[in-house]
């Protein structure tokens, strides 16, 4: 750790942020010293991104104080935060592709002459100076669209340096970088640290956190779980802080004797999205797919559902090789997909509950040319009761329901198809704890009724809670497959970070 002054660069005290129905941050404290790399950890949904958005002025906190170099401040908006020296480097790049590097770096504050024209020479000179500090080997005039992702990220960082940055937040900066590019990024971060900038580093990857950070803080379920000096802790302790001790008790303990293999996948590949994936799912079994965002899990689901065409490999349903030509084909073969994003992919929000639920089979519910009202209502009533969907009437537009009830409509829609294989992608994203529990119970019930179920989730407790087997993926490849008896949090975290069992042992 480098030298630091007595006053921390940044202190957050008792930050509370609520959204309708959710307490996203519940009294979070965080202290970042000048000249340190402070890692921020937590599961998906623990509140890291919300906290950083509060810091960068994108959200206003309901309670709590932001203290910058000993002075309490209010961040009106991101520009205001930047002017005060707090810069957020986003997970997703937010650059204008068609403009030059210099224009992007000084976007919104281009230097101009007294006539109002852009002062190109000043702009390019200033930008080149910043790029030199970052050891970038491209110049200010380059078009952003001509740069690799890693270099575009450098442009994002260069943006941060146009002001006298006191705190720079990196949100999952290495998600799309190659190993060589990471080295360059880490050098830049260390360089910023040496200059006395306070750095917040958000990442899921333990190896990066332990090699880079000086201290680390953990969030869980929107509340602060403590801060450790990195050198004085280890992955085990941090994992426990992130997940909580209750985890081990929440493992699935049902032992259903699985039936015949319903779905088998051999060497399935789809371009760069995933490679050589093989697994099988039996009737009565829940197989959990766990991994980081972008590990290729959703893409596998979409391939099985006919939305993507595999480039290699075979899919077998009940032992018979099949080619799935599209969603309609997948549905007729008994595959159902509850998609990742219920609002974009799962529901027509303006339509009624009933109409949404019967949509995939509407063509089969006809008497003569007309859709049979009675048949539709019968299906809706059946799954409303079975899934305990709370809606004043089937006529209610789905958009007016709570997230949990919306998700149940999507699940009901696909159960009503009586699938052989049910794929559920992020079944509980964005819904409250109570509804989560119900949906988990439902998934277990479905398996015990003989469905072959695949659950894709980014939440470890969820995967452990519902699965009979867990498949860990990293960057498009299956790293390891666990039975529920042998899986531990540690081994799972290692597997989804790309550490194979032979290396880990």
């Amino acid at each position: 750790m480098t030298e630091h002054s007595e006053t921390p660069a940044l202190r957050l005290e008792g930050i509370v942020k609520t959204f309708p129905g959710v307490r996203a941050l519940d009294g979070v404290d965080l202290e970042v010293r000048a000249g340190e790399v402070h890692a921020l950890l937590g599961e998906n949904g623990a509140g890291k991104s919300t906290l950083m958005k509060v810091l960068a002025g994108m959200h206003q906190p309901n309670e709590g104080r932001i203290i910058l170099e000993g002075r309490e401040v209010r961040m009106a908006n991101p520009m205001d935060a930047k002017a005060q020296g707090v810069v957020l480097i986003h997970q997703e790049l937010s650059l204008c592709d068609g403009l030059s590097v210099a224009e992007n770096v000084y976007l919104g504050e281009l230097p101009h002459t007294k006539w109002g024209f852009v002062d190109w020479s000043t702009l390019h000179a200033r930008t080149d100076e910043i790029l030199k500090k970052l050891n970038c080997n491209f110049d200010a005039r380059t078009r952003v669209s001509d740069l690799s992702i890693a270099r575009q990220q450098m442009v994002e960082i260069a943006r941060a340096l146009t002001v006298d940055a006191k705190v720079v937040v990196f949100d999952e900066p290495t998600a799309s970088l190659t190993d060589a590019e990471k080295v360059v990024l880490f050098d830049v971060i260390k360089d910023l640290r040496a200059r006395g900038v306070g750095i917040v580093y958000i990442s899921h990857r333990m190896d990066e956190i332990f090699s880079l950070s000086d201290r680390l803080s953990v969030l869980r379920d929107g509340s602060y779980r403590g801060t450790k000096v990195t050198a004085e802790t280890d992955e085990d302790e941090v994992t426990r802080m992130m997940i909580g001790r209750s985890l081990t008790h929440e493992k699935n303990t049902d032992t259903v004797e699985p039936g015949a293999v319903a779905l088998e996948v051999r060497g399935l590949s789809c371009g760069k999205l995933f490679r050589d994936v093989s697994f099988e799912v039996r009737r009565g079994e829940v197989v959990g797919f766990y991994g980081l965002v972008g590990a290729g899990r959703t893409e596998i689901a979409e391939t099985l559902f006919g939305l993507r065409t595999p480039t290699a490999g075979t899919i077998l349903l009940d032992g018979e090789e099949v080619r799935i030509s599209g969603p309609l084909d997948a549905i007729s073969r008994g595959i159902s997909l509850v998609p990742e994003s219920r609002k974009e992919q799962g529901l027509v929000l303006g339509m009624s509950c009933r109409d949404n639920m019967t949509l995939p089979q509407i063509g089969d519910l006809t008497t003569g040319p007309f859709v049979s009202n009675g048949a539709e209502i019968a299906i809706y009533d059946q799954y409303r009761d079975r899934l305990d969907i709370r809606s004043p009437s089937w006529r209610q537009a789905v958009g007016n329901l709570s997230g949990g009830n919306q998700q149940k409509i999507v699940i009901g829609k696909w159960l009503a198809m009586k699938p052989q294989v049910l794929i559920v992608d992020e079944p509980t994203r964005g819904i409250d704890v109570g509804a989560k529990g119900e949906i988990h119970k439902l998934i277990r019930t479905l398996a015990s009724q003989g469905y072959a179920v695949i659950v894709i989730s980014s939440e470890m407790p969820e995967v452990l809670h519902v699965s009979d087997r867990v498949i860990a993926m990293y960057s498009g490849e299956v790293i390891r497959s666990f039975g529920v008896g042998e899986v531990t949090e540690d081994s799972l975290v290692q597997a989804i970070s790309g550490i194979r069992p032979d290396r880990a042992a």
């Binding site: 559902f305 939305l307 599209g326 969603p327 309609l328 997948a330 549905i331 997909l337 998609p339 974009e344 992919q345 799962g346 529901l347 027509v348 929000l349 303006g350 339509m351 109409d355 949509l359 995939p360 509407i362 063509g363 519910l365 006809t366 040319p369 007309f370 859709v371 004043p392 007016n400 829609k413």
Partner: protein, 324 residues
């Protein structure tokens, strides 16, 4: 839930607001013009609205599917010129058949470009608007066409005849409206159109073939234009090359006034019928009050903009957008 209900009431008020304004217009017209509330005049307005109405039925299907069709005006010119021109050359039945096939081919082109190639419907149909106008002039060589002996052909009855005291165009308009309303509200096809317009991605994830649905919507729109061309060609007994010019905006005005959202996924055929009739009555009333015909252009668009604003204001619960 309470806020949803409030929103419902708000949007109902906005909807009623248009109807109330419409009622005030009608009362005003009735008070100041002796002939407006005359039964013959009212019937005439409905008959005159039939051509726009028939086209608006097809365009409503396209709009519910989440797309636009601006090519209907010039498609109407093309179809009318063709059916009138061919009438004397090959006889009425073949002429009608050839014309219907021709508009369906144009509908196919729209459907292919928007449905299959997924191009922006505004650009595609705006381009088709101009392309079909060119096609019409190429076909006719710039000459206006007419039917030589209009008294001698049953073709003239389509636009001029009547049955049970009601003009045939009204019968056609009414029958088509009821038929398409039933199709849209009770068949699987109708449901799919609403789903695709409401959320194209979710529709694909539900096994709906979006391409087919959009394609079919444009075919329906083209077919409706063909039927409208029968009424128009028969009524006039001849056709100018640009007879349908500006119809696309009148049609769209009726659809919007009826309350069908241009974003897709909502609206009904019946609403469009009401919208088209409102438009017809306002324009007729203004004429009877002695305003020049171009005044109706102005008033029509003021009414439409007001309607759209009220609709949006009711949805967001305030008159101005919360985001600057």
């Amino acid at each position: 839930m309470a806020s949803a209900r409030l929103k419902g009431i708000g949007s109902l008020l906005a909807r009623q607001g248009i109807l109330i304004a419409f009622a005030l217009f009608l009362l005003g017209f009735a008070a100041f013009s002796d002939s407006f509330s005359d039964a013959d005049n009212l019937m005439q307005v409905v008959r005159q609205s039939a051509i726009i109405g028939v086209i608006a039925i097809g365009v409503t299907v396209v709009v519910i599917s989440g797309n636009l069709d601006l090519s209907v005006g010039s498609m109407l010119s093309f179809a009318t010129v063709m059916v009138v021109d061919l009438h004397d050359k090959i006889g009425p039945v073949p002429a009608i058949a050839v014309m219907l096939v021709a508009v369906l081919v144009l509908g196919c082109i729209n459907g292919f470009l928007v449905g299959v190639l997924k191009l922006n419907s505004l650009i595609v149909t705006l381009g088709m608007l101009s392309a079909i106008q060119g096609l019409t002039l190429i076909y006719s060589g710039g000459q206006n066409v007419d039917i030589a002996d209009q008294e001698a052909t049953w073709f003239s009855l389509i636009g001029r005849g009547s049955f049970l005291g009601i003009a045939l165009p009204i019968w056609i308009f009414g029958t088509l409206a009821i038929f398409m309303h039933v199709v849209m509200s009770t068949t699987a096809f109708g449901r799919r159109v609403y789903a695709v317009g409401g959320n194209p991605t979710a529709s694909v994830f539900s096994g709906i073939r979006r391409t087919h649905v959009v394609f079919a919507a444009y075919m329906i729109s083209a077919l409706c234009v063909g039927i409208a061309a029968l009424i128009l060609g028969s009524r006039v007994g001849g056709s100018q090359n640009n007879v349908g010019q500006g119809y696309e905006l009148q049609v769209l005005a009726g659809v919007i006034l009826g309350g069908t959202s241009l974003l897709g996924g909502s609206g009904t055929i019946l609403k469009t019928v009401i919208g088209v009739l409102i438009l017809g009555f306002i324009q007729n009333g203004l004429l009877l009050l002695g305003f020049a015909y171009y005044v109706q252009w102005l008033v029509t668009w003021v009414v439409i903009i007001l309607a759209v604003w009220l609709d949006i204001a009711a949805k967001r619960g305030r008159l101005l957008s919360p985001i600057a």
